[in-house]
Amino acid sequence: MTLGQSHRSTGSLRNHAPRLLSGAAVLVAVASLLPAVYLLLREGFSYRLLAEQLSAPSTLPLVWNTIQLLVLVGLSCVILGVGLAVVVTRTNVVFPTMWVVLFTLPLGVPAFVGSYTWVAASYRLMPTSTFIYGLRGAWIVLTLALFPYVFLPTVVALRGLDPAQEEVARSLGDSTLRAFMKVTLPQLRVAIAGGSLIISLHLLAEYGALQMLRFETLTTAVVARATVLGSPEAARALAVLLAVGAVGVVALDRLLRGPSSSAKVGASVSRVSMQWRLGAIRWLLLAVCIAVVVLSLGVPLYATLLGLWGYVGSGGATVDWSLLVHSVANTARYGLLAAVGATVVALPVSMISVRYPGPVATLSERATWVAHALPGVIVALSLVYVSVRWAYPLYQTSYLLVIAYVIMFLPLAIAAQQVGVAQASSSLEEISRSLGDGPWRTFRRVTLPLLLPAAATGAVFVALDVGKELTTTLLLRPTGQHTLATALWSTTEGEVLDFTAAAPYGVALIIIGAIPATVLARRTLRS
């Protein structure tokens, strides 16, 4: 090693990742690509079939629909998420803490339930209206469901920013707003990009809500081909297109973030930014906050409670308490196991991607996002196929189900951990090493404790998504086991949800989702 090379060192102890670390990261990446590999290698796939699917007259409009949805929901989530984050952190709006909690709670409502409640409310309040259907409905409902993914990291970033820069800009004559736009907004880029990436991939994988709202995308077509048409080959071929879309989104995100994502956040900032003392506008903003809560939480609660009221009121109905308790316990158990599993497995990837940037790190980290964009039915069938052939004892056990959850929701853990690794300054590690501690001991005593809060945030994100998952759970759960989502699903007769017999499970699902969402909001406020 010559001296000349050392200028490339940007604060880390070594340029090259330890073999063990990169080995582990690559292993995780490869494992997470399993569903995508299955699409290509499962017998029955051919490029001719793919070409056939691509050239079908219905495919192009579907691609266009998918892109429209991604752009519209993505943009409106960014505007809403950043706007609300600014309101709660920078203005003198009343009860900022309460708003953070309320703006996080939509994360606890599964999209297939949320969209149903909109349809139910629409039937009830405006029976003949079709306002809620198509692109418009999907845009509104999914924006209200997904904006917290931008809101939360933006709140964290805004609270962590050094106020001095904005003050300098203002002292140089810029107005408050202009200083914010010029100095602060660019520094939110990482938070916004991270949030929009999660939202885009969620949208690529979304099925239940879009079907309910009558908006057809590539994913609804994949699922329709697999389920209605019974053409799994066609479904898998079309899903390849989704995976390609995911790679595109992930690459675009890379570009948006720019080469260095080293915004100075967190630990070292001691001063809180000044608040804008607003006059009458304050009340307008308050009205906006209330409107967002009414739409994102009020509508689901209205339809669910109405159903519960009708169910309890109908007299003969009884709640199956043992099933309710059983499914609450399972939901909590699977959520906890998957959260811990994803957290552990995510560690090498988040470590290497922040500390040792390079092709291996980038590819490993980006690869884990692909499965997040595939519909649940594809992920589930790939695991059925693989486990039946090569890991039969695992098949239809809760272990395989948890593995599926980890594959699907791993990126949520990684994204959150990356923030923590970036904040855990590598110089502290160097001090530990210089005092004679080995890398493992350093990791355990220095890095891990510093990383823990961010890792916990990631774990909560994973647990939330596990609680909401339906399709994969139906196919992979041990026979006879229920989660709240499957119990809710199984009580619905006549294909569409109706919150009568399903109401108790719907209420339980919303309550149990509110717990981790509240934890998330509180963590955000403490950051």
Binding site: A234, L337, S398, P478, G480, T500
Partner: protein
């Protein structure tokens, strides 16, 4: 800061302990029935039917025979795809579907064993597949659901074939469900491929795709469309739930004259070839087709039709004998490659 540093690892240890405790209780669901030998007195049933109905069947069968059914519920196509991916190592002994298409798909893949001929002989032979590899244990009929506030029953089209006519534009709802695929299949056989494609394009242009039969029902009931194409039982489920037919706005119209809009579709039951419990599974099939066994549950717990002569539904549905459906081989539905191709071509799916 120093406090959190000491607390970190300890809470981590506590979490790990919790995980171990939780995980140890985890494998309880995997007690595989049927894998512990042929003497096993339980069967694994994959069911695409409503879970309540399947559980009612399981309870009644266990009471009579002492044999437990372990029910794995899902939707038809999900379960059928699952069985195909499982191949000859499927955990299922028996599969129950809502629609004939999916079970015919399993049959075509060579995964189903012959059903005992004495069992097949019990049910209405019109609904049995020619292959004899699955049992038509229940049936549903395609109907038009209409909203009398918007259209009267005698104004409804006489045949679904009329629906490609511009006259009906924007007035009806449909769902590209399994039953719809079956209808297309039947049309290809009866009016030919070209005319069927034209018809599909007309449906796409004129109708509103509500995605699911249940939503066809709900939207017609709400008055969004004059009428819609669906399976009969969705309406009767809603009627019973709301406390009677008079509580609903919409009504059921049975399509007569051997029209493609009035197809009767069988729900299928089959025994997997790979099952190690062939005898017990056939015993269940025989019970399912028995007038004093499974057919009683079908008659009591669901508005679907029992398929054994002399068993009548507890719901006020038009008797099977008074329907006038076209006849076709329910088992041929797996050869629906053309139907699928046409539906994709017409942009319906």
């Amino acid at each position: 800061m120093s406090r959190s540093r000491t607390r970190g690892p300890r809470s981590l240890a506590a979490l790990m302990l919790a995980v171990v405790v939780v995980a140890s209780g985890c494998s309880s669901g995997s007690k595989g029935a049927g894998s512990d030998g042929t003497k096993s007195k339980s069967l694994v049933v994959y069911s695409g039917q409503h879970e309540d109905l399947t559980q009612a069947l399981a309870a009644a069968f266990e009471k009579e025979s002492g044999i437990t059914l372990e029910v794995r519920s899902g939707d038809d196509a999900g379960l059928v795809n699952q069985i195909i991916e499982e191949g000859d190592r499927s955990k299922a002994d028996v599969v129950l579907t809502e629609e004939p298409g999916p079970i015919a798909q399993l049959d075509a893949a060579g995964l189903l064993a012959k059903v005992d001929s004495s069992t097949l002989a019990k049910v209405d032979s019109r609904f049995s597949p020619k292959s004899g590899n699955w049992l038509a244990w229940a049936a549903r009929v395609r109907v038009m659901l209409y909203n009398p506030n918007l259209i009267s029953e005698d104004e409804l089209p006489k045949s679904v074939l009329e629906l490609s006519d511009p006259e009906w534009k924007g007035r009806f709802a449909y769902a590209p469900s399994g039953a719809f695929v079956t209808t297309v299949n039947y049309l290809i056989d009866s009016i030919g491929e070209d005319k069927t494609l034209e018809w599909l394009k007309g449906i796409k242009a004129n109708g509103v795709n509500e995605q699911k039969n249940g939503k066809v029902r709900d939207s017609v009931e709400a008055g969004q469309h004059e009428f819609g194409l669906a399976n009969h039982y969705y309406w009767y489920i809603l009627a019973r739930e709301k406390g009677g037919e008079d509580a609903l706005q919409s009504r059921v119209h049975y399509v007569d004259g051997k029209d493609a809009g009035g197809l009767v579709l069988a729900s299928g039951a089959g025994v997997l070839k790979s099952s190690k419990n062939q005898e017990t599974a056939q015993q269940f099939m025989a019970w399912l087709a028995d007038r004093d066994g499974g057919q009683q549950i079908v008659a009591k717990d669901t508005p679907q039709y029992p398929t054994v002569d002399g068993v009548t539904s507890s719901y006020d549905i038009r008797p099977l004998s008074e329907l006038d459906p076209p006849e076709f081989d329910q088992g041929s539905l797996s050869e629906g490659a053309k139907a699928k191709e046409l539906m994709v071509k017409a942009g319906l799916i």
